[in-house]
Symmetry: C3
Subunit: 461 residues, 3 copies
């Protein structure tokens, strides 16, 4: 960065304006990667190692010394060794006294140890200032410089000054430190890199399960039934037609499931007459999965839109158009526009598009940077008011799509309802109960409960 | 989090590594919700209350004491009482001296009091360190744990150390503290949760007003005129056709209105010969609404795209196709491609799509996280260069769409211009004036003014 | 903000709760703009100037004094003068001792001076505390209040307290300070506003170059060849048809180029048997451009989707439909559905849509706020697993689209392969090599190398 930093140093020998030496204990992979990066960023690096034999793996501008000598050269010591070897550090407690120790360790699995590695280190060396950090960064990314992902480095520690020193180093490496508070946050920071979308697991498995059910249901009614009874082989429906029946049905069901737990919560609160008792666990977990359920529903609804728009490009569609027109020509039919039909189809298309539009709005406000820039009242307005409006539009879209088929026996192949009827169950249930809940008398009662009122306040002694 | 924290405590009795007791004054709803959350997160909580009778509303692991005894147990005291009762705290000023008081109060409406609650508290208790915070969090969200919305907690205060202590607690609760500076920011923080999209009000009402005007204008010309003169009932146009005429017209007008204030500002500066005089108020307010106007225009343009793509699925469209082909068959016409027509329609489609594409780019760069990652020069490049290119494309799209109809009297039903002609007024005016403004002689002059040059510099004395 | 702040002052004369005077050296454009904004935000401002003659350009509530007197009135001094005049400040070193000097200067081009302006200032005045800041904000934006862009103000400095004072002022102006660490970051902060999408230059020029090549290639085969041999003038293909052949071809090629450097890196590491040697420079730079290449590919793929969906609205398409149906009618053909064709077209449509869907997912996770909220493992999962799946789907989409034409000589106009065949080169190469690399024996070896293992470890004592 500073080409003639030597000049500057000559000018102002007492300037604090230079990188301070950093010591790294351990010459493992991550220790080496971090050392490389630090040297690149202008930090003198000294490794503390059992063997001072210099491997060519160690960055060539780094010094390698014994642990004690290395530690004396720096105020900040990166502990790049594994937790099971921490106890050897107690022998260095003299030399490490007052130093800033940066615990960068990760575990192999969640809950491997009772306390976090950083807290364990702090217990072993009560005289040192332990800071947790860097464990969320990938060695490979550090080394190759390809930090496309997050440049955030989570930091926590009890000593504010020590934390500040580590944060300065993080800045110096071109990364962004994020203060996570006291060392108690270490457990969370250590668990962080081990997770793989924990909040998404349940919603994704639920969607997959429901999706498979709807797929085979639709396959049976639309392909197999037609094959068996009409002897038409419409197996190519598997590519677009059936997915485009499963996507909207699944999307609408999941969208209903986003609002269902809120309905349950309201009913439970009305029944109990208080908000001060915990909801059942399943409801709590369901409520926490609402955002994910909603986003999956949005993805499926968007796929439904694209799969529908592609219709005129499909051979099946041009075949049907040709057939229709040719039969009209052959029969010398006068072609007149069916106005009822035009109204019905145009309105369900319009409702679907508007519903999807509002749904996309909901999706945009759930982007972290957008939801951080609205306050609680605005967020509630979007998620509740706009959300219910979108749900109403999507439900109406499906109902009008069904139209007169609801009462038509031929729609019930094998005595089973068509798949879109199934999709209406959850959203209709939600909308009906919600409609009851916003009756003034019910709503007023619920509002009072949510403001802290209790039907049977009990005071212990 | 820490299953056997008792073990740790046994190991290291002097560790600072445990949650410090927090005192909460007031057992109202928000005080209880916050206490619940704190106990869940491992903080010992003691309530200060007039009546030490323990309500079952109060989290059962919390202690309840008189105010003075409770305050003595903690360094940080959450003031969960209403502003009108603050003056009773002066009687405790001895015991509160040097303590960190966290003002979490909210008002019912904007500008209810001359100074912010936190500043008022600081005046009442000059010996205490007042920090504002937590007021932007919802009690309901704290309690139910469903913090889907922002996890940000705005904090301000004059004492850096006190602020740090409160920020540590915020971290401890799994929330993200955001430092908003000194206690002077308290007013802003107190106003924050009371707002409901204040920046969006004017743009939304403007869009609604214009939208309604365009809707009835189009209804009159496209449905009523056809019904009256041709006796055709095209009422189903209300579902898709008319919205799809209103959306693009409104979008283009609003898009023009985004760039119009910039044009006015340039003209005013050129006329005045200085940039050092404030713009009129209406222009200032208009300039601040440009982002919102642009985003509404983008939403409408996207709706226009989807409403257009859905055309082939509409009964009206297949009816027209059938009619066209059948009449060709019956008349034994040789069908040849009209190349001029193909050029015209293909180019306005292409321009519309490219214009929308650039418009979406503008929209993406206005996402907070994206606009934070570009510098001023890059932001100007996108918003000005790319924005004008999008405006030119969209205007050309509309003009070519109109095509030969501009000069065709039959396009002027009831002597009124078609709706798309109206939409061209604002963007064409913007583009023409902008074209003049980028003439080198004008541009050079304007640039000098914007760099601080003045035509008539006047020095007082 | 505070209507009766005088009252408050009367109540609590010793409160720290008021804005402290800020001194600004220099009455140039940015100094005036900043002064204006500060006075608006309630800061008393005093200008230090050679001439104390009051220009009407200077905000009228500001005082103007000589440099020394002005400096004595404030703890924070904004240095709004140009670097080449900094040396005159040495004469004021007495009066500036211990003061916080805020360097707000910008250079005209990158690397204009060996050290950053702020570091230079710190050398000249070792007794003052230099903080870099405000240089990333636009004077025009400050003045007009239209800070639509980033409200972030990058701050760096060696003195924590001085930095805190400047950050408080930034907060006071309604802006967001971002701590960038020690004064060594000044160079980066000074370079920041001079950049214009530096990371995008190479990817955009590459895309433009490839795009032009594909455009003329397609123009030759689809328009000129048809004109020369069939005497059909399809020049209107330039508007939609040809772009819609260039977009997908370019998108797929760029998408392949996103994954190609990873393939090269793996091969180089396998060949060298170590990860501890730097990649060649071109590979490093390529890897850093992957995100941008991917986003351009995504933009082109989306354009391809929209340009395809618009097909049924084009005159060319209705002309072909009419022709087809009329010839069927005239020939009394029985129209039967070609099932193979339906399968082929439906599946390549479905694959294209699913591929685009996954591609959009990748794009969303590369939004800064989203990529900051996933950990490294999740980011890798999305970018690698989901990315390869999208690449496979898009490649299959193109292959099935080509279908039987690969072996058909009539597809090779002028003995040249059709353009979509060219687009398959890069992604197929990537997929084939990747397929080899995930063979257990190769993968295991590579994983060991990436965990730090070396084939020929050499120790220099």
């Amino acid at each position: 960065m500073n080409k003639n930093s030597s000049n500057i140093m000559a000018l102002t020998p007492n300037t604090s304006n230079k990188r301070e030496t950093v010591c790294i204990f351990g010459t493992g992979d991550f220790g080496r990667a971090l050392g490389h990066k630090m040297i690149q960023s202008g930090y003198p690096v000294v490794y503390g190692s059992r063997s001072t034999q210099i491997s060519n793996l160690i960055p060539k501008d780094a010094e390698v010394l014994g642990h004690a000598e290395a530690a004396q050269k720096a105020a900040v010591i990166i502990i790049a060794i594994q937790r099971q070897h921490y106890n050897f550090l107690t022998s260095l407690s003299q030399v490490l006294h007052g130093k800033v120790l940066v615990d960068i360790s990760n575990n192999l699995k969640l809950k491997q140890y009772p306390e976090s590695n950083a807290e364990y280190l702090a217990q072993l060396l009560p005289g040192s200032k332990v800071v947790k950090g860097f464990n969320t960064v990938s060695a490979w990314a550090l080394q190759s410089g390809t930090l496309d992902a997050s440049r955030q480095v989570f930091i926590c520690g009890d000593d504010v000054e020590a934390k500040q020193m580590v944060m300065n180093i993080v800045h110096g490496l071109g990364l962004t430190p994020v203060d996570k508070g006291s060392l108690l946050a270490a457990q969370e920071i250590e668990n962080y890199p081990l997770q793989l979308f924990p909040m998404w697991k349940f919603p994704i498995f639920l969607s997959l399960g429901l999706g498979l059910f709807f797929f085979f249901y639709s396959l049976a009614l639309d392909v197999i039934h037609t094959y068996v009874y009409d002897n038409n082989n419409f197996s190519f429906f598997i590519a677009i037609t059936i997915p485009n029946r499963v996507f909207p049905v699944l999307a609408l069901t999941l969208f209903g499931l986003v609002y269902l737990p809120g309905i349950f919560a309201a009913i439970i609160q009305l029944y109990r007459g208080t908000k001060y008792r915990r909801f059942p666990d399943w409801l709590d977990r369901w409520m926490l999965a609402r955002k994910q359920l909603g986003l999956i529903a949005l993805a499926l609804a968007s796929l439904h839109a694209v799969f529908t728009l592609v219709t005129p490009l499909r051979p099946y569609s041009s075949w049907r158009t040709s057939n229709r027109i040719i039969s009209q020509v052959l029969n010398n039919e006068t072609v007149s526009l069916n106005h009822t039909n035009a109204w019905l189809i145009d309105s369900y298309l319009a409702m679907g598009m508007l519903g999807l539009f509002l749904f996309v709005l909901l999706g945009i406000t759930s982007l972290p940077s957008v939801s951080n820039s609205v306050n609680w009242r605005e967020f509630r307005f979007i998620q509740s008011k706009v959300g219910y409006l979108a749900l109403i539009l999507c439900t109406a879209h499906t109902m009008i799509f069904g139209g007169k088929w609801f009462l038509n026996p031929s729609a019930y192949k094998w005595y089973l309802p068509d798949i879109y009827m199934l999709s209406l169950v959850v959203p209709c249930a939600v909308l009906v109960v919600k409609f009851v809940l916003i009756f003034p008398c019910v709503d007023k009662h619920l509002t009072r409960i949510r403001q802290g009122w209790e039907r049977n306040p009990r005071y212990s002694e």
